[in-house]
Symmetry: C2
Subunit: 328 residues, 2 copies
């Protein structure tokens, strides 16, 4: 961790939050209510929640559009006077009393940092993937929508196998389409369960080459097999489970400990191995594999509470930074 | 843990949830969506959230009435076919494949148990405490409502001191009224901070004998001192921080490990030291001191996910219990 010399004119905050999804907004809500001087920095509004169409599993809303839910979180936070910079942060440096954060167009100081930048889902890269009804990236979120329908899971890792197991409780047939000749390191128990579940049909050594549609909905998959030929599989839903990359690079560069999936490792109160650096949401391992809006929001609230404790004990940004520094 | 003989006619569920607050309903939401046979057992609807008037810190609602929020969670869960028994559970026995739960009027079996029974707040026991505007039990929740107002905290433990510190960020004067002659074991740092904060005024060796009101709002406190005499203190808000009892007795009796506050100790995924027994919400230590609707709801979702994993691996209630048992 390199101590850099502080610029005289750097703006200082009690808490800088990186991200603009559910974890970041919940953190901003609590941080603002604790009266911390708070700044959010993120390139796009709403995170993964905002890209979901209808959520039926956020407690307190029977159904809510993801973008609408995030807009309400934003309204809550805007009322508290939290500032937002619409930009991509590019670097974090450890300095005295916290961190200096560089983003497109500027630099700020945070006495504490809440890292809530989410993760990047891998996509198939096929036409229709973004627009067709019937393409999902979250079995936990969407399985109930597909009760009684034939579906496919794309992928062969542990998350693909677990998605298939969950879907098999509600769907008459679940294909698991994977390019490899065997599933890629699922947990032993998942492998046993999948072999016992008669309505799960593995389709190995196979790639998806096209999404077939009828009007605006998925109608099937075009599959290609390595030794030639292609065939069509009629399904009404496809669950893409080919992995996700936590956006943990800036944290790693700072010396923040990551788990084997590249997620920031947090304790119960969202603390990391680096003092004053907290994490929340899908970039961290706070809820294991359960990456949901409700868990992300709770983690944001916890991270802000931990940041407040630091400020409460060590003093706020103004005490340290309101008087211009000598440049030597 | 005593293994009791199973009754032939006991109804069996994949997951039995004790409680009817935010943690319990979020658990039921996820459990129902995982297609677990689920039963909720609790004496009163809505938990502590339902008794809050307006919540402004539940992410996604700018403001929402606590009872209304819980009613929406109930509607979400009712749609999934989750059953509810309006009764007080009185005992839990560890048996093969889970637990037998006894309640007023019956007994059921749960392959897994989610313990979300909350905690009991200690109250002053003074007239007006339930009805006056200006009496709060949660500084984290309500501090922003009192910005610019003179308030008092009742109590002398660490939570009272921390409430005073938080309120002192928004309020011109914060009295801390405590019957003891010194604060009762606050953390050393809290004690230092309270002595440095000029707008915090300790009022020790003093009891609150009456809540003074003007129309429907708190206007002050009548205080009595041990060596005679009483005086009045004008305040617009009072925060009662005289402790809370986690309702962990049934868990303790089963051998579930508790922390020094009597809270059920949980891991990140709400697991306890007793297999198949999960806890969530204010009865557990999942979020440290931050007992909020958002954290309780997330813990409920996590507990249900952990219960689902058990059922997924070990089979469901029907497999074990649909065939009547031999009674020997």
């Amino acid at each position: 961790m390199v101590e850099v010399k502080r610029k005289m004119d750097v703006e200082a905050y009690d808490a800088v939050i990186l991200g603009q999804g559910a974890a970041a907004y919940a953190a901003a809500l609590y941080s603002g209510r604790y009266r911390l001087e708070t700044l959010m920095i993120g390139p796009t509004f709403g995170g993964e929640t905002a890209t979901a169409s209808i959520l039926a599993n956020y407690p307190g809303y029977v159904e809510v559009d993801g973008f609408e839910l995030m807009s309400r979180m934003k309204e809550q936070v805007d009322r508290l006077g939290v500032k937002t910079v619409q930009a991509q942060a590019s670097a974090i440096a450890k300095v005295e009393h916290g961190f200096d954060i560089t983003y497109e167009g500027g630099q700020v100081h945070g006495e504490t940092l809440i890292y809530a930048v989410g993760r990047e889902r891998r996509k198939l890269g096929l036409p229709g993937e973004e627009s067709l009804w019937g393409v999902s990236y979250c079995a936990t979120c969407d399985a109930p929508l597909y009760a009684g329908k034939t579906v496919a899971v794309i992928g062969g890792g542990d998350s693909a196998v677990k998605a298939a197991l969950l879907l098999s409780r509600a769907c008459p047939r679940v294909y698991v389409v994977y390019r490899g000749q065997a599933f890629a390191r699922p947990e032993a128990v998942s492998l046993r369960l999948i072999s016992e579940r008669e309505n799960i049909v593995p389709v190995l050594g196979t790639r998806v080459t096209r999404l077939l549609s009828r009007e605006d909905a998925l109608a099937g998959l075009e599959l290609s097999q390595p030794f030639g030929g292609s065939r069509e599989l009629a399904v009404e839903g496809v669950f893409v489970e080919i992995g996700a990359e936590p956006r943990s690079e800036m944290a790693r560069a700072l010396g923040v400990a990551l788990n084997e999936k590249g997620e920031v490792m947090v304790g119960k109160l969202m603390e990391t191995n680096v003092p004053r650096f907290f994490a929340a949401g899908d970039v961290c391992d706070g809820a294991g594999d359960l990456k949901q809006t409700i868990t992300a929001a709770a983690q944001g609230a916890l991270a802000a509470t931990s940041a407040y404790k630091v400020i409460s004990v060590h003093g706020n940004a103004c005490e340290h930074h309101c008087v211009p520094f000598e440049v030597d």
